[in-house]
Subunit: 147 residues, 2 copies
DNA sequence: ATTTTTGCAAATCATTTGCATATAT
DNA sequence: ATATATGCAAATGATTTGCAAAAAT
């Protein structure tokens, strides 16, 4: 989860201008540990009277996704969400209950992908692994049917 | 890729009525090897004068996805697509060029997921692995920059 | 006969776009 | 000064819904 400053620096580093709305976006995103949709971010910004326009939220998220600061996520419900992330490419476990998103290490995924490429004959250019479940905290809350 | 009959049998087996529109859906889906969006299926059905309504297409796809006859796919573009599949849970390699979708064997994914569960502390309930690239055919067509 | 399913058109929800204005460089 | 970025409101696209009519059991 990158800090607001890091996010802002990403805009800067890629040659985008540092504007008030972008600072606001950086602040909003840097403040969350969970995933969020464009609409949710917009709602939060309204709650704080940041005066961000809907289009700006979508446009900034697009840019940040391109820059790899934020990663697109497709929830099991079909909704499009985002999570902030530091590393350029990797994967997340997402808590179905509280929405927390945690990076997962690449424990052998690359080799798996290589194997799948070989066995399918495809040239694999990109892949996405999404994991959904309960985070340790929510899991503790659900004191039922399990260890 | 299940046959139209198999798809129809899935409706039946789950207690859904066998209607003309559902037969049409089964036929349309059984006839494709690639992925498709609801809208595309609707367009095809119109081309063949099958008289399917838009709502029916969406509703049937929902049911079939629940039954596991069809799997939801999120294309890199963000579009929601579907692929027909036989086995209840598994993954696909999707050709970015022609849209062909091929099942991939589970070469160690389960163990990987287990390892990730252990290292993250999450209880992982579901996961999705999506692979995008070029199928052998399209790859041959693209005689350039590669082995 | 009764219940499920359908098609339609309208409603809803998500995302994008045009354009005049405002802002960063 | 100049180019980029913004907000707005309208446009677009995708999906869902209400409901009376049609079809399956």
């Amino acid at each position: 989860v990158p800090s607001a400053e890091t996010i802002l620096a990403a805009f800067d580093g890629a040659g985008y201008r540092l504007t008030e709305p972008r600072r606001a976006m950086a602040g909003l995103i840097g403040a969350r540990a969970d995933h969020f949709t464009a609409e949710e971010l917009l709602a939060t910004s309204r709650g704080q009277r940041l005066g961000l326009g809907r289009a700006t939220v979508f446009r900034s998220l697009d840019i940040l996704a391109d820059l790899g600061v934020v990663e697109r996520l497709d929830l099991p419900t079909g909704a499009h969400a985002f999570v902030a992330c530091d590393r350029p490419h990797h994967h997340h476990v997402v808590c179905s209950s509280c929405g927390a998103a945690t990076d997962v290490p690449d424990q052998g995924l690359d080799e798996l992908v290589d194997r799948l490429a070989a066995s399918s004959g495809y040239r694999i250019d990109r892949h996405r692994l999404e994991l959904f479940g309960l985070c340790p905290t929510c899991r503790a809350g659900a004191l039922r049917d399990e260890d």
